[in-house]
Amino acid sequence: MIISVASGKGGTGKTLIATSLALSLRNKAQVQLLDCDVEEPNDHIFIRPVIDRTEAVGIPVPVVDEAICTRCGRCAEVCAFNAIAVAGEYVLTFPELCHGCGACSYLCPEKAITEENRETGVIESGKADSIDFTQGRLTVGEAMAPPVIRKVKERTNNDGVAIIDAPPGTSCPVVESVKGSDFCLLVTEPTPFGLNDLKLAVATMKELGIPCGVVLNRAGNGDKNVIDYCESEYIPVLMTVPLDMEIARLYSRGITLAEGIPAWQKEFIGLFDKITEIVDERNRCPER
């Protein structure tokens, strides 16, 4: 089963929930944790894995053999991203604009274009106790997160429970991260910002056809609007974490809820059981 943890708004507690869930389940199932927030991966701070496998990842970008090239301009014509241009005698490539689709090299009538890998990040895998861990890290200064996220997800192990920590927002990096999940946990807080961004995240999951439930974090000082919204939209609120200075302080030191206050492990196992029930129910009657 693949469970992703997403949020819309940043800083609502995705990492806290994803890492605590992984730690709480590690004695119950084969657990894998995939940190797909490749712009700012933080899970490693909390579960302190031993990394034993590092792989550079990137985008295949065109290299033009100018001796063969006839400057016909077909490559520039088919490139949707303006990453290759022919100007008189010159063929110019703009590797940082290239999405690596391969159209230019395939369609070059002279076969003058080959590809080389332009490194945009790394994938690191290892173990934290019995948890299989993989994270991606986008190189600072690089724009495109999705190719790195795709590589992280290629390491998904379908046998046990895979937990995906997604980036904040609702655009392509989030879609890339949560796509293919059996369930998505949306972590929010009871504030107008939390609610506004939760609505966007819910709409994204609906678009992708992924069932979702809410974890309400920092409950206590906010308003009731998130709860009312969830009720009206029939979105289950599966867990509530109070606004608590002790939890905030543990978090600031890189300690998860499951580790810092072990009584929470039972709550996370309960959360997992509820998710399993919803996913099983949906598999029984998929039209729902």
């Binding site: 819309g8 708004k9 940043g10 088919v78 999405h99 910002f193």
Partner: protein
């Protein structure tokens, strides 16, 4: 004209609350919300309904079932795993058009995407340019570029010398699009290990795009030891800490009431934000 952007790396450190306070404090400026994925600034600035524009960007492949000969070439060549059983998965389609270019039956066309909307709104603090990226859409970087360009145009036309922009979390495409060419980046962090880790990466991005950075440690009193570590790190990097703002529950309360913290409770965190703003004005003037 000067442009300042507020970034953080990590989400939820307080960017929007601080930008909301700046909107109150700055006399003459145009506000921009560059967090087009999850735009929240309008919730504090409570704009009146203004101009709304469509944002068309990127393309998606469409297969005409009547022309398709089921040869499977498109599926075989697509590197984004976006075609399954001759059906295009819109969420995976990169819009590269490779499939449309190679289809021997010319059964594939590329349709333009309505990727979002952008708005020019009036608020009591001046003009706000903001946007809403379409659900599960791409090209947030281009939408960011669009709202920045519009803000610049408005500022030029009305003789306004300052643009204040609320940036997105992360370090990728929309962040780069928000940051490049600005005069100053205010980096809002918090004294958590995650906050520090993410700050280091966003400092790297500022350096990469040669934008000067100032740091603000929000909720600094949550963990004094981490605050000291961040201070030492910034000192080493030659980056000034412009402010340390204490934790203040009034900041969240203000947001719940749809107000900037300056209006809701001018004591506490608000006083520190006001001093921070004066430092920024000094920095931009110099």
């Amino acid at each position: 004209m000067k442009e300042i952007v507020v970034l953080s790396g990590k989400g939820g450190t307080g960017k929007t609350s601080i930008v909301g306070a700046f909107a109150y404090l700055a006399k003459s400026k145009v506000m921009v919300d560059c967090d087009v994925d999850a735009a929240d600034l309008y919730l504090l600035l409570q704009p009146e309904h203004g101009e709304e524009h469509e944002f068309w960007s990127g393309q998606t492949a469409v297969i005409d079932g009547a022309k398709c000969t089921h040869c499977g070439l498109c599926e075989q060549l697509c590197r984004f795993d976006a075609i399954h059983d001759l059906v295009v998965d819109d969420a995976s389609c990169e819009g590269c058009g490779f499939c449309a270019n190679v289809c021997p039956a010319e059964a594939i066309t590329m349709k333009e995407n309505l990727a979002g909307h952008w708005f020019i709104s009036k608020t009591k603090y001046g003009t706000l340019v903001h946007a809403r990226l379409g659900i599960a859409q791409e090209n947030s970087g281009k939408l960011v570029a669009m709202v920045r360009q519009q803000a610049k145009k408005i500022a030029e036309e009305s003789g306004i010398e300052l643009i204040i922009s609320d940036g997105p979390p992360g370090i990728g495409c929309p962040v780069i699009s928000s940051l490049s060419g600005t005069d100053l980046a205010l980096l809002v962090t918090e004294p958590t290990l995650s906050g520090q880790h993410d700050l280091e990466r966003v400092i790297g991005v500022c350096r990469h795009f040669t934008v000067p950075a100032l740091v603000c440690i929000n909720k600094f009193d949550i963990n004094d030891a981490n605050t000291r570590k961040i201070e030492a790190y910034c000192r080493n990097q030659g980056i000034d800490i412009a402010s340390k703002i204490p934790y203040d529950s009034k900041v969240t309360e203000a947001m719940i009431h749809g107000k900037t913290v300056m209006e809701y409770n001018p004591n506490g965190a608000a006083q520190h934000i006001e001093k921070l703003w004066n430092i920024i004005i000094d920095r931009l003037g110099g």
